[in-house]
């Protein structure tokens, strides 16, 4: 597996560290159902077989966080973007 870093170009998997599902959002702690929302955010995962948006960190390169779309069935990298401050891409 190689990831096309927008800064550094195509680099080997061993340069990156994996965090996981990119759609983690810190829930609003003041929401009425905050407890349920935190449970969902911390523990529950879509875990799809197919395209998956996930966060990778280019640890041995530019040290950017990347939002990568990758097919979990084939390991094919479909897209690489910077995560936006709002969490979308």
């Amino acid at each position: 597996m190689r990831i096309q870093c927008p800064f550094c170009g195509e680099r080997d998997l061993s340069e990156f560290a994996y965090l996981g599902d990119a759609d983690f959002r810190r829930p609003d702690p003041d929401a009425a159902d905050a407890e349920a929302r935190f449970f969902n955010a911390v523990y529950v995962r879509d875990n799809p077989a197919g395209p998956h948006d996930e966060l990778w960190y280019h640890a041995s390169g530019c040290r950017s966080w990347l939002r990568v779309t990758r097919n979990t069935r084939t390991h094919e990298i479909l897209a690489v973007n910077f995560p936006t401050p709002s969490g979308g891409s």
Partner: protein, 432 residues
């Protein structure tokens, strides 16, 4: 003997032959031409009392104990490929009960006790070999952690011995004791741990369950659930719809995918774990050895191949193969621990898809949907759990209450905060 004769002929359409020295000699004299098949490759009926999804070790063990312990034999095991084509046929076959937490230890020890009587129970040679599992430690802090784990085991009545470096050297003189980067200070030994033949476990459970009337249905993928008034009453499959009083899921790496068919989201991620086997060599490694300064474990199969593995690749995956950085990492662990291994050639490597739970421990519980039961989250330690997992899942399905040793394996523990995190790494599945 009686168990396998008479009534099974009438029920199944063929007589299951009991394996014994007498029958071996008899078959040998007739050129081994009269051995029958070990189990029936059944076609689906329209309804069962219990349907188990997944013909891995856990699904088949569940069916066996449902029939044997609870007298429920109108059971089908549905397998999308062939039985044992998932993780049951891909693991490194290590069995042990050296767990720290009170929620885990009695469960794995019950599994060990079932392993100890498995071959008699199944009348099948599962090659259970209690050759010992030794976890090496490489620092004072790690010795303290292992001493604590060993003490917890002994308080649960499980065997554990803390060895110093000299004792390890006497056992395994070929390890690197000379100026290694991570010097070996000793190890925690469970002599009752060891290995078993993974395929034989699958076949043995299949044979015993089939003999009691369980239908084992291969090439039968579950593609949906049939619901009536909020209750799940059956499954849609590639071989037609099948109704069931209760449905148990035991699909390991495919858990999230099958749960999604029922509209459930779970605290699980699927990750790939690789394993390796070398060319066969003369007896070299007497038991199971694990390296404590990296992640590497190794044993030697009875055929002579060195069977070894290490960490997960670390990213979500449903591909049953991994990448090169992990291969390198595993081989570096091997070289750091036993440099002699460098002369041995790797024969094969492969991967399996692990159902990694968010605290590293399994789930054996009801779901929020009536009629649907869950057995999942085995991470990469579910082979050793096969007998107890089947035992406890059968208990839950038959009686609608958890078995005493599986009481901590609740699905709601993530919401209530009663986690079972042996490694203490939190909700990061690729670290468990």
């Amino acid at each position: 003997m009686a168990r396998y004769a008479g009534d099974s002929t009438a029920r199944l359409g063929f007589a299951l032959m009991r394996y014994s020295i007498f029958n071996l000699v008899r078959q040998a004299l007739s050129g081994h031409r009269a051995w029958g098949p070990a189990w029936r490759d059944a076609a689906p009926k329209s309804a069962y009392d219990v349907v188990i999804i997944g013909g891995g070790g856990h699904g088949l063990a569940t069916a066996h104990y449902l029939a044997k312990i609870h007298g429920i034999s109108n059971v089908a095991v549905l397998e999308k490929g062939w039985i044992g084509s998932g993780n049951a046929g891909r693991n490194t076959t290590i069995i042990r009960s050296n767990y720290l937490l009170a929620g885990n230890n009695p469960f794995y020890e019950w599994s060990m006790k079932l392993w100890e009587g498995l071959e008699q129970d199944l009348n099948y040679n599962a090659m259970v070999s209690q050759r010992g599992v030794l976890n090496l430690y490489h620092s004072d802090a790690q010795r303290d952690t292992y001493a604590r784990r060993g003490n917890a085991m002994r308080m649960h009545g499980v065997d554990a011995e803390l060895l110093d470096a000299e004792a390890v050297r006497r056992m395994l003189p070929f390890l690197d004791f000379n100026g290694a980067r991570f010097p070996i200070h000793g190890g925690l030994l469970q002599r009752r741990g060891g290995t078993a033949r993974h395929d034989a476990v699958v076949w043995g459970y299949a044979r015993a369950a089939s003999d009691r009337g369980v239908d084992i249905i291969q090439n039968c993928e579950v593609t949906g659930f049939i619901r009536e008034a909020g209750t799940i009453v059956g499954v849609e499959t590639t071989r037609g719809s099948i109704r069931a009083g209760k449905i148990g899921m035991a699909v390991a790496g495919s858990t999230s995918r099958v749960a999604e068919l029922a509209g459930l989201k779970l605290p699980i991620e699927s990750h790939v774990l690789q394993a390796f086997v070398s060319e066969a060599i003369k007896p070299f490694i007497p038991g199971v050895v694990t390296f404590g300064a990296g992640h590497f474990y190794i044993s030697q199969s009875d055929k002579g191949g060195l069977v070894f593995g290490g960490d997960l690749d670390g990213y979500n995956s449903y591909a049953q193969r991994g990448n090169l950085p992990t291969v390198e990492d595993v081989c570096e662990g091997a070289m750091a621990l036993m440099p002699a291994i460098g002369r041995v050639r790797v024969l094969r490597s492969w991967g399996g898809v692990m159902d990694m739970s968010m605290d590293g421990s399994p789930i054996i519980d009801r779901t929020v949907i009536a009629g649907l039961y869950l057995n999942a989250g085995w991470c990469y330690g579910g082979f050793k759990a096969t007998p107890a997992s089947g035992w406890c899942f059968a208990h839950l399905l038959a009686r609608d209450e958890p078995h005493a040793v599986a009481r901590a394996y609740r699905l709601d523990r993530f919401a209530t905060g009663h986690l079972l995190d042996e490694r203490g790494v939190g909700a990061q599945p690729n670290l468990h």
